[in-house]
């Protein structure tokens, strides 16, 4: 069964790679160069899909946390941890690519405006979640405290999503609100979104497998210690 799971994971990785490479190809050979921003607008085809992947990761973290709080299941805890890690990975991509694009758009790398600030805060919340999980112990209590934090972090994700609508700011709204996209920009944009979401899913799956293997090996270590102790004592 593990062999078939590994095969599915490999297929998922390959599919995500194909989608991302196709998206990049379409972004450079189909989508036109944007008139105002020029070539730097091509960052858009990574920046926004990475944001979607970030939301997916953090949503999985919150979902796993809620399931663990309602009914403690180790697989839910693994999903929460994996979701947070992958969400932070793509969140880092958003926080790197965004300022690089912002320099061309605003003349400087960073602005303490609602979308950017709330994104950074949410990123830091999930960093804290991972630190808590890494150093807070491995018992059920530590998992439950982590789960509460994982759910709280979801509030941050909601704030990021509605920050522009509620508080304005200078972060552009070209995709769902405005008409700033040329029709030929949509295919690479959607293909990149699919590619990044598939990649996020594959990384979460891979991370969950690793965590499961780690827990099994830890259990075997304990078993070996118990058996060695029994052999040594007369």
């Amino acid at each position: 069964m593990r062999a078939s799971n590994d095969l599915k994971l490999h297929i998922l990785f390959v599919a995500s790679l194909i989608a991302i490479v196709t998206g990049i190809y379409l972004a450079f050979y189909l989508a036109p160069v944007e008139g105002n921003l020029g070539i730097v607008q091509k960052i858009f085809y990574f920046h926004v899909p990475a944001a979607f992947a970030t939301y997916l990761g953090f949503l999985l973290c919150a979902l796993g946390s809620i399931i663990y709080l309602l009914k403690p299941r180790l697989w839910a805890d693994r999903m929460a941890r994996a979701g947070a890690e992958v969400g932070l990975l793509f969140g880092l991509i958003v926080l790197i690519t965004g300022p690089l694009w912002a320099y061309k758009s605003w003349g400087h790398f960073w602005e303490w405006e609602p979308r950017l600030t709330s994104m950074l805060l949410t990123f830091l919340i999930y960093c804290s979640y991972l630190l808590l999980r890494a150093f807070g112990g491995t018992g059920d209590s530590a998992r439950k405290i982590g789960a509460v934090m994982g759910v709280l972090g979801l509030v941050g994700v909601g704030v990021v999503r509605v920050s522009v609508k509620l508080w304005g700011g200078v972060h552009p709204q070209v995709v769902f609100e405005g008409g700033g996209l040329h029709p030929d920009m949509y295919p690479p944009f959607y293909v990149c979104i699919v590619g990044f979401l598939l990649l996020a899913w594959a990384l979460v799956w891979m991370r969950m497998n690793l965590q499961r293997d780690h827990e099994e090996i830890e259990a075997l270590h304990l078993l070996a210690e118990d058996l060695e102790y029994e052999l040594e004592t007369p």
């Binding site: 008139g35 105002n36 921003l37 020029g38 070539i39 730097v40 607008q41 091509k42 960052i43 990574f46 990475a50 709080l69 309602l70 990975l89 991509i93 790197i96 690519t97 690089l100 694009w101 320099y103 061309k104 758009s105 605003w106 003349g107 400087h108 439950k144 509460v148 759910v151 709280l152 509030v155 909601g158 704030v159 509605v162 522009v164 509620l166 508080w167 304005g168 700011g169 200078v170 972060h171 552009p172 709204q173 070209v174 609100e177 008409g179 700033g180 990649l199 990384l203 891979m206 991370r207 690793l210 293997d213 780690h214 090996i217 075997l220 078993l223 070996a224 058996l227 060695e228 052999l231």
Partner: protein
Amino acid sequence: MNRTVLRALILALLLGVGGLAQAQDEAASGEAAAEDGAGKNATEFVAAPPEAEKISGLSLMVAAYIAVWIVIVGYILFLLTRQRRLYGELHDIRSRLEAIDAQLAEGGGGEEGT
């Protein structure tokens, strides 16, 4: 479900909803200021004036794409390294358990002899 955990969840939800509601009030009162043009979100791509930029757009784009691939590949390599380390631990634990098995077998052979 643990009562403390349930209370923490409810408090978090209330704070989140309360915060959003307050922000919506502030946003409504700030709409007049926003309509003046200050802080209005662009609905198309806008560029800073040419004199403001010192780094070319191509350099920024290349840097962004390189950073993305470094982050993704770096994380995959991190996972693969951890997987390799786990396989090493698995090999160690297998040896340990085999040694325990051998000891148990010897101990069982000794008892049968007497």
